[in-house]
Every structure is written in structure tokens, then in C-alpha cells.
Symmetry: C2
Subunit: 274 residues, 2 copies
């Protein structure tokens, strides 16, 4: 048995299954937990790979350590989405962090990750983590000026995540951040979603004085190249604020040297920002 994901109408990936561990229809989406021979366990939501045992470190490290290393003292962090817990795990690697809130709308993602992805969800029970099942957009609106960092770990811009790619949400995020706060959102593939990246960048640029786009290579995501959009009120996201903290992170992908170079874009990607 093979699991095949059509990443576009005309292209996809296919992975040989050891077994299907769990499937269910939650209140929000189709959820499947697969065990694959190449990537280990694989969480699939609405037919899209969200994370796998073998390559999850890339996405989780790269959505977290750029913003947190560029902030001199990130204490309070909000993660919108990301019910598998991988982002929280990386956030808590920063000893400055006192509270990491997870606002995940679908509690079944959290529960299934706890059961089947123990290495990814491991930090959800940490004393510094607080899990809030509910609407992340409402959470941001109800906590003005509260966060140093907001991380948007969304699914693709269809289904429950549509609102997480709206300009009104980035406006709420702006108000949810402290005066020197910073936010980062996954923003899809430069090969397949150029128009979306262009739109998100324009929206963020209209709200934040400092913006950025950086890339990471994630084999199980469409095209293997993934983008992250950053908006910052004060700090330059390309500059590490605390070299010692950045250098002490135990990682498999992120390095302090890679921090800056992740913003060096291939020409066709850079042109999306013009």
C-alpha cells in the first residue's frame, strides 16, 4: 500500500505504508496517522502531510529559531495552530521563554499527536506550556499587547486555516504583540504558491515596519522548498540578538550561520517581493 498526495492537480509524492495507525473525521478536518517506511510516522490533515518523524525537525526548528534568536528576550510566545506540539518543543529550547501558549482549534490533533508522535508532542506537558483548545484568531484579539512572539503554524490556506492567511488576522497579530514584538507564519512553496507569498508579503509590509521572507528545505512538503514570512515591529529578523543563546540551541537543521543565509533568496523568489 502506498499513500499518494497530490500536492498540485498534476504532481504529487507517494510513500510506501507500513500501516495505517489511525483515521478519523474530526469536527474540523480529516485526520490520518500513517506509518511509512521512508519517513516514519506521518500526520496527514485533509490529504496534506503535516509532519513526519524523519523530517519534522526542519519545519519546527526553522519556524521557531529565526524569530526567537532575533528577539533579545522572548518571554511570552503564542503558537496559533501546531497542535502536534513540535513548535512548542522548539520554543521551549529558549531559556528566556516563561510561557508558551498553544492555541489549537482541533483538540483531536493534540490528542492523536500525544498518542502517536511522542517525540514531537513531548513538550506539551511542560510546566511552561499552556494548551488552549479554541480559535487562535479570537485568542489573539483577546490578548492585546501581550506577546513577544506570535508563530502561525497553520495548515494550507483551505478549510479551517483560511482565516490565518487574511490581512485582518495579521492586523490582529500586530495588536497582539508587544511594542517590540515579532511574528512568523509558514507561507507555503515558492514554486507552487508564488501569488500567495506575494500577497502575504504585501499585507505584512503594510502593517509592520520590518518584514522578511526566508526558506528551508522540507522533503515531504510540496516542491521540497518552503517559505516563512516574518513581520517585526523593532528587531531585524536577519540579525541574531543573543549569539550565545542561538549558538547553544541543540538542533539538526538551524545553525547561527544558517540564520542569515536562510534570507538569501533565489532570484525567482526574491522577485516575488518586488
Amino acid at each position: 500500500m502506498w499513500y499518494t498526495e497530490q500536492q498540485t492537480p498534476h504532481f504529487g509524492i507517494t510513500a510506501k505504508l507500513k500501516e495505517t495507525l489511525h483515521t478519523e473525521t474530526t469536527s474540523y478536518q480529516e485526520l490520518a496517522m500513517l506509518d511509512t517506511l521512508e519517513w516514519g510516522r506521518m500526520l496527514v490533515l485533509d490529504g496534506c502531510v503535516m509532519t513526519t518523524d524523519r523530517d519534522e525537525f526542519i519545519y519546527h526548528e526553522m519556524i521557531v529559531h529565526i524569530a526567537l534568536s532575533a528577539h533579545p528576550n522572548p518571554q511570552k510566545v503564542l503558537v496559533v495552530g501546531g497542535g502536534d506540539g513540535g513548535v512548542i518543543r522548539e520554543v521551549l529550547k529558549h531559556p528566556t521563554v516563561e510561557l508558551a501558549v498553544l492555541a489549537e482549534i482541533d483538540d483531536r490533533v493534540i490528542e492523536v499527536a500525544k498518542e502517536y508522535l511522542p517525540q514531537i508532542s513531548v513538550a506539551l506537558d511542560d510546566a511552561r506550556a499552556r494548551v488552549e483548545v479554541g480559535d487562535g484568531i479570537a485568542h489573539v484579539q483577546e490578548h492585546p499587547g501581550e506577546y513577544d512572539i506570535i508563530i502561525v503554524d497553520s495548515t494550507d490556506p483551505i478549510g479551517p486555516a483560511v482565516g490565518l492567511f487574511a490581512k485582518s488576522f495579521y492586523e490582529s497579530i500586530y495588536h497582539g504583540l508587544k511594542p517590540d514584538g515579532m511574528f512568523v507564519a509558514q507561507s507555503e512553496s515558492p514554486f507552487f504558491n508564488g501569488d500567495l507569498i506575494r500577497g502575504v508579503q504585501a499585507d505584512v509590509r503594510s502593517l509592520f515596519p520590518i518584514t522578511g521572507l526566508y526558506l528551508a528545505s522540507i522533503p515531504t512538503y510540496p516542491s521540497g522548498l518552503w517559505s516563512f514570512t516574518i513581520g517585526s515591529k523593532t528587531y531585524d529578523p536577519q540579525v541574531i540578538a543573543d549569539q550565545a543563546r542561538s549558538a547553544s540551541l541543540v538542533t539538526k537543521y538551524y545553525t547561527p550561520e544558517l540564520h542569515r543565509s536562510a534570507f538569501e533568496l533565489p532570484r525567482f523568489v526574491g522577485e516575488l517581493l518586488k
Copy 2:
């Protein structure tokens, strides 16, 4: 109809076909020219995607412009393999180049590329290009001290390309280069071929005083992340020797800023070099 390539025994890509334009068994390999809806025309050798209309620019630019930009005056360049002509096309973007020799063992690759991939093979008829159908290893051995740059544009290390990953070949390359020469070879995926990268790097390091590994994102290649190994007698491949020439290149992926950052490796890749 879909074309599915098993990039590993347990993982692959699948692309919807518009039509199959040509298939044949050459003296060296199985050759197929497909027309796909996502990637345009696609050259497949022995069941592996070699190049596609839509993403060929990445591989061809990145295997060429790092070494040629790091060399102050590349005049004579050898390309081993690469019968589709894409590497020659990029080499000839450097006005310093007086002669670009293509040593391709399989003339059918050249002919089929000329027929079906005109934008890739376009430069094979250039006055500065010379096509030599034959064994690239023998060519290198018969031309000691002749080349400023040697580029190894091989297929995967099975079938006709096995010898192109052998230490004895790198030794021949060393002798085929001028005293300040440099070579670059594609060296597969850091996700799927870590042992091969480690071995190639060790072999090259035992022969060349300066070595390097850099990466590029190529969606239709296994894992989407590809590595290139460089060996240099004199010049640091990370440093652009002629800024004006590098900046004047008309490219879609390579930029002078990306030149340096392509060598900044994710931690798990950097550890392959230790």
C-alpha cells in the same frame, strides 16, 4: 496517465502526463522524453528524472555559476556528461570562456535533447562549444593540465555513471586541471545519499587543498535538496573572483548574494563533512 519515479525503494514522485513523446533503449541506458502538465517536458534516464523544462534552470545555473564565478578567468571548461546541453548553455554565459567541451558518452541524449528540449540544448551549436561523443574519463586522462574548470554532470551512481564517482576519476580530474583549476560535481541528496556525500568529500579532500559542499533546491530531484561537491587547487569557491561578471549573469536562481549562502549547510549536512 501518471509517471511515477521511486526515488528510494519507499518514496517517490508522481507527475501527470500530457503525452509520452519518445522512448528508446540506447547503447547505455533507457531514455524517455515525457511531456508533463506540471513540469513541462521531462528527460528520464534509467527511470530517474534528469531535467525538466520548468526547474532545469536551478541545477544548470548552480552547477556552473559557483565555480565559474569563483575563478578569475575561466577560459577552457570541460563538461563530463550533461548531454542535454544545459550546463554548456550556462557556461557560455561567462564571456571569459573561449572553449566549452562537452564529453558525453551517449549521443542519443544529445540528439533527443536537440529535438525535444530546444531551450536547454540551445548552446550546443554555439561557436565556442565543442561536442565530443565518448568516454569523459578517457577525455580527462588524455588532456592533462588543460582545463580551468571541469564540471561533472553525471547521472546517479549506477549504470554508466559509476566511474564518475570513483576516487580514481577525481585523481584524473586533478591532473586534467591547470595549476589553478577547479572542479565541481553533482553529489546527490543529503537526505538520501549521506554516505555517498561523505565518501566523495573525503576522496576530494585527499586530493585537493580546497574543498566545499553547497546546496540547491530542485523540486524534481530526490528529496528536493541537492548537493554539489567542489575541489579547487587555488581559489576559494565561496569567494566571487569577478564581482562584475557574477552580477551580470542573467539567471533565475543564482545571485551573487546566494553564492556565499549556498555553502551554509543545515547542521545535519555539515556533519557529513566531519
